[in-house]
């Protein structure tokens, strides 16, 4: 087995979860399957119940998610997901979602069968096909509803490790077909500190690609390839350094927002897509020593609020609408096939369109030559 683990609950009706797949272990209560979905099947003890995936070993920092399929009003069993389930004890964190107008998500910890609410009554109202997700990272617990975090970061240090799984509230004895979840997934959380590829490749392909890096991304010889409909590589107050590797982002909307520093020694930044944006906000340094910044797309924007330094590299912007906005010295150039020599350091080439207009608002000490 390998993580992330997934479960589609495909089986005959009324098959118990642990019978369906021995990869599941009950922490408390019981679950079974109906219409190829998960449901509560217990004794009506009004208890928080859970089961976990036992076929893989999870990191302490883990997640579980599932799709909420059905929650009939007036039905009092609830389902959700769990993380850090103990191997055998009735101990776990869980997020459950009741069918009230207020949403009534309940984030709990259960320790040896004793439940404590960490946060309740938060989040959006119940919605079919929403993905309910619970993450545990260090002492932080996070709940997501269809990718939107709800309830903020919650802190609890009680349960430090375990396995991801499913959870439920057993109100009504027996099983019923009015509370159903599907498509469970459990796995380890992505690295939140350093992402280093010495020789390897990072390839992310999908509809929504996001590689958020809060500290440092280093590609020494490897490649980062992000391909999808919406591709984002946000680097917040961090260093993005390509020594010899490539950063290639290809998609319909491609974003490389950098809040601090992006440096390239020999590598390339290639952003290709319909809407391509390379944003370096105030305080950021965009340095190309020998590398290339290549932005190709329908709407290409290279926004720089501070410093753009090229020693031997190139900045190439190619597209239907090309904007090079450099607000540090208030120089703006739109859609120009022009070589702009901005004393002393910057050289830029753009594809040409007719009726070029150039807005230049230099300081009195700056010269702008257009050839």
């Amino acid at each position: 087995m390998a993580l992330p683990a997934t479960e589609a609950f495909t089986d005959s009706d009324s098959v118990q979860l642990t019978t369906h797949d021995s990869s599941w272990t009950l922490n408390s209560g019981d679950f079974d399957i109906f219409s190829n979905q998960l449901r509560v099947d217990d004794a009506g003890n009004q208890a928080y119940i859970a089961a976990h995936w036992n076929a893989d070993s999870f990191d302490d920092d883990q997640y579980a998610e599932a799709v909420a399929k059905l929650q009939t009003a007036g039905d009092w069993n609830y389902l959700g997901v769990s993380v850090r389930c103990a191997a055998a004890a009735n101990t776990f964190y869980s997020i459950l979602w009741a069918s009230t107008a207020s949403g009534q998500k309940v984030l709990s910890k259960v320790v040896a069968g004793s439940q404590t609410t960490i946060l309740s009554g938060f989040g959006a109202a119940w919605s079919a096909n929403a993905v309910l997700r619970l993450e545990a990272e260090g002492t932080t617990l996070r709940v997501y509803d269809d990718g939107v975090q709800e309830g903020g970061d919650q802190t609890d240090a009680t349960i430090g490790s375990g396995s991801a799984g499913v959870a439920g509230w057993d109100d009504t004895a027996g099983n019923n077909n009015n509370t159903l979840y599907d498509d469970w997934e459990g796995g380890n959380l992505a690295v939140s500190y350093t992402l280093t590829a010495d020789q390897g490749n990072y390839i992310l392909t999908g509809q929504l690609i996001s590689l958020p890096v809060a500290k440092k991304v280093i590609a020494i010889q490897g490649s980062y390839a992000l391909t999808g409909q919406i591709v984002t590589l946000p680097v917040a107050r961090a260093a993005l350094i390509a020594s010899q590797g490539n950063y290639i982002l290809t998609g319909q909307a491609v974003n490389l927002p950098i809040a601090w520093q992006a440096g390239m020694v020999q590598g390339n930044y290639v952003l290709s897509g319909q809407d391509v944006t390379l944003i370096a906000s105030i305080g950021a340094v965009l340095v190309a020593t020998q590398g290339f910044y290549v932005l190709t797309g329908q709407a290409v924007t290279l926004l720089l609020a501070w410093i753009l330094t090229i020693n031997q590299g190139n900045y190439t912007l190619t597209g239907q609408t090309v904007i090079f906005s450099f607000s540090g010295e208030v120089i703006q150039i739109y859609t120009a096939d022009v070589i702009v020599n901005l004393t002393p350091t910057i050289i830029m080439l753009c594809n040409i369109l007719p009726n070029v207009s150039i807005l230049a608002n230099p300081s009195p000490t700056k010269e702008v030559e257009i050839g």
């Binding site: 928080y48 009534q104 109100d171 004895a173």
Partner: protein, 197 residues
């Protein structure tokens, strides 16, 4: 084991009793529970707070009914957040105000408030041969908007029980009045035959 439930009362041939329980003379209905129970009704409103000597299998049969509210075996634990929606729904549909229920209350405290309110309703029934409130919607009527005659009857009932009610405000809703009156039972034991709340 003894467990508490809130459920509707049904009438069979002029006999009122707990729904899902056998209470009529003659051969028992096999689909209902034939077990010892002790019940307090909501006056002439068809709702009951019942203590039953029940097996686990019988309990599972009973709590599967959508109009039955049950407590855990340990009624001295605080009500769980996840259980609150059902508790509120079951209580409100039986004209028992439940907007005050939150996780700071134990199940025992909730049951005692309900029991205290039922005792008031029974006194009201005895004095005035009427339901304390006519329907669920009246829970949200303002005290000073309900007919004067009914307000008088309620206050007369409170007088007969020795309740002080000087804090009542005209702006209060009926639901708040009923909670107030239910709480007036105080710490007086509520006896259910084989068990006391």
């Amino acid at each position: 084991m003894i467990r508490f439930y809130i459920l509707p009362i049904e009438t069979i041939k002029n006999n009122r009793g707990p729904k899902y329980f056998n209470f009529m003379p003659g051969p028992p209905d096999p689909t209902k529970l034939s077990i010892p129970f002790s019940l307090k009704d909501y006056g002439l409103i068809d709702a009951a707070l019942i203590a039953a000597d029940i097996t686990q299998a019988q309990h599972e049969q009973l709590v599967a009914k959508p109009d039955v509210g049950a407590t855990p075996l340990d009624i001295d634990q605080n009500i769980s957040d996840i259980a609150i929606p059902k508790v509120i729904a079951v209580m409100e549909q039986l004209r028992i105000p439940a907007d005050w229920v939150d996780n700071t209350y134990t199940y025992r405290q909730i049951l005692r408030m309900i029991g205290g309110l039922f005792m008031f309703a029974q006194r009201y029934h005895g004095m005035h041969n009427a339901q304390l409130i006519g329907n669920v919607a009246q829970l949200d009527s303002r005290w000073n908007r309900i007919p004067q005659a009914r307000r008088t009857k309620i206050l007369e009932t409170a007088d007969s029980l020795g309740y002080e009610y000087g804090n009542i405000q005209n702006s209060w809703k009926v639901r708040r009045m009923l909670k107030y009156l239910g709480d007036k039972w105080g710490n007086t034991p509520l006896h259910f035959g084989f068990i006391t709340l």
